[in-house]
Symmetry: C2
Subunit: 158 residues, 2 copies
């Protein structure tokens, strides 16, 4: 049985569901690339979303990246995101949710001994209409200044 949505989760409830779409990535140290993405948000009756994401290379369907974690709704229009990345990174993002717009920036990026050096991440999400979600990721990494890294537009699966 699906639990009720926790009242404190309401500001983030527009994210619930499975989203698919395409995005583009670039950074000074790599070749620009396209990707296909699937994002899933679900809940278990608590004031938080469970989150998984994965991207694939369009040409061959190879899995490229993935992330997992939790999006916590905090009273007062705040959001806290805790994420793990397969390339040895943990990330805490904090910021605001207002209407269909979320703006967060990393308060912590933690690296394992063998991880690539990422020092700051900022993420923006915007609901467009009721069924499209656009996002941008800005990254400071491997000695480069904070700058655009990823953008994508996803559509909610029925």
């Amino acid at each position: 049985m699906e639990p009720d949505i926790h009242p404190e989760l309401q500001p983030l409830a527009f994210l619930l569901g499975t989203w698919r779409g395409t995005g583009k990535g670039d950074y000074p140290t790599i070749q620009p690339f396209d990707y296909e993405e699937e994002v899933r948000f679900w809940h278990v009756g608590k004031p938080l979303l469970l989150y998984t994401q994965r991207t694939r290379t369009p040409a061959d369907g190879q899995i490229r990246h993935s992330e997992m974690g939790y999006w916590r709704a905090v009273p007062g229009g705040r959001v806290e995101i805790v994420l793990a990345h397969p390339f040895g990174i943990v990330e805490i993002q904090e910021g605001t949710v207002e209407g269909g717009r979320i703006e967060v920036a990393s308060t912590l990026v933690g690296l394992t001994a063998t991880a690539k050096e990422v020092t700051r991440l900022e993420r923006s999400f915007e609901l467009r209409g009721s069924g499209a979600l656009a996002y941008e990721v800005r990254m400071q990494a491997v000695g480069q200044p904070l700058q655009h890294h990823l953008s994508a537009e996803l559509h909610r699966e029925e």
Copy 2:
């Protein structure tokens, strides 16, 4: 199509699959408790495991805790674990895998603004026979010294 197991993942391959069992938790600041647990490890052809875990209260099936993240196999018998917790914690664990035994300790515990104060976690895992996995978690939190927090024994689903 299931990808082949990456050769560097072999030291951790014994974890692959879905595991279920029961555990016990205690800490000076809380009442001792029992839990039911489901752990899932899978792979996508890279030298890492994807990991999700959740526990429930036996009496009513309520979801109690969950975690998600990645276990990275590092050449030389090393393992790096990156985890996110729903109560606003990210965790990096590093240590060793030797045979069916894994010993890791946190190199980083990161907290969101509203998270409970956890300062150190240590985890031990031991394969028993081919189908049982026992673990212990030791925790330093909320001003208490590092000490036993959780232990469980899980069995691999066929």
